[in-house]
């Protein structure tokens, strides 16, 4: 799994795998390889959704123009 890829790119790759398999043009072994890749990729995509931090922060600047992040209370 390529962690550098964006969610969007991974999603496009998954769609391509689904299309490849549904086309019926792969031989049996390649199809199962693709299947395995597709299942891994879909699990990784679901993980990406959950991996985003739940955080609301605010930037605070001090007199020296230094930037700090603090929790923002709604």
């Amino acid at each position: 799994m390529n962690n550098e890829k964006s969610f969007e790119e991974n999603m496009q790759e998954l769609d391509q795998i689904v299309k490849n398999i549904e086309s019926g043009k792969l031989n049996l072994e390649d199809m199962l390889k693709e299947f395995s890749k597709g299942m891994k990729l879909s699990k990784y995509l679901l993980k990406m959704l959950d991996d985003i931090d739940k955080k609301i922060e605010m930037i605070v600047e001090n007199n020296q123009n230094e930037i700090k992040l603090t929790d923002f209370e709604v």
Binding site: S6, L28, K40, S42, K54, M58
Partner: protein, 416 residues
Amino acid sequence: MTSKTYYSVSEVTQYIKSMLDTDSLLSNIYIQGELSNVKYHYSGHVYFTLKDPFAVIKGVMFKSNVNRLPFRLEDGLMVTVRGYISVYEPSGQYQIYADAMKKQGTGDLYEAFELLKAKLDKEGLFDPSKKKKPPLLPEKIAVVTSATGAVIRDIIHVLSRRFPNFHLILYPVHVQGKEASGEIARALRVINDKNLADVIILARGGGSIEELWPFNEELTARSIYESRIPVISAVGHETDFTIADFVADLRAPTPSAAAEIVMPDKEALVQTITDRQERLLYAVLNRLMRTREWVTNLSENRLKMPLTYRLDQYRLKCDHMTTLMINRMTATVQEHRNRIVGLSSKLDALNPVNTMNRGFAIAVHTKDGSILKSVDETEPGERLRIFLRDGTVDSVVSGKEKHMQGDLYEEVIHGE
């Protein structure tokens, strides 16, 4: 007082009306004042009162003139009204019949707006090919706006609804007044320099053209253009357009709409992904079934022994893979059943019982009921229970032979 002449109310009113109507000053007059009691009547006419600290004049503007106005009349607006003064006889009131109206003191701002817009357009700052596409799933969202007020709250509210675990970084700035554009420019630069987010929302609630002015300043426009990180502008109401909107990579009609645009709906994404999983499973199972059928038909043609043997191997392989697929599918179905409402009915087709109706069997270890997935998991003499469509067969392993190996099947089982 003997020869009194009496006049009717109408006659007096008529007389006053004619006095006013023939007065050269009143027949074409400009009046400055503050609008109040503005009422848009359903007929399209607008009724209002013009006032200053010491007096009021009632007024009306007819639909055809209202439609030509570039702005909406609102209480509190300082305006210059052109029209004539006359009497409305049924109520005995004099009023101004307005045919044109201008917001006071905004003429210069409109001109500055148009000049800057033309200049930046010529320089290519609005070039559609330069617009950057915001990411489908932003890990961090920077919001440049006031830390107080409804805007940040609205954005947080919408984000929470669409995607419970979002990461927002508020960069608080003044959104009106002289210092605002400098603060906005600095915020955009810092967010870019420190790579604080992968999308930026620049937002402000509604206001007068003067209040929205920082978003029409060149400094703001250029800092948006220079941002490497995509910027979504959300300034004022749907009808307000600022220079910032033209330069931004995307313009949202309101701050809430910006939040809708920036963050996808999480449930919808989960649904999309699990839908792809389902399609993968169906496609592969379908293919395995068809392949097995094909092999069975071939072998029934009584081919020569070596080939028949190979076909048997192939058929076993298909059976084996089908069982693996069913196990895998059952596991996946379990995994997602909790996640997706309504998915279960679609997946009934994958129920192992249905598969057994087609002649497939599942072998389990009698001792603990776990499914047998490989010949490696059993030894001659072990008791196995075989599940068929209509019951179980208890059996003892009398021998075994391993037919195939390979990472591929390992991968199917331990795919995660």
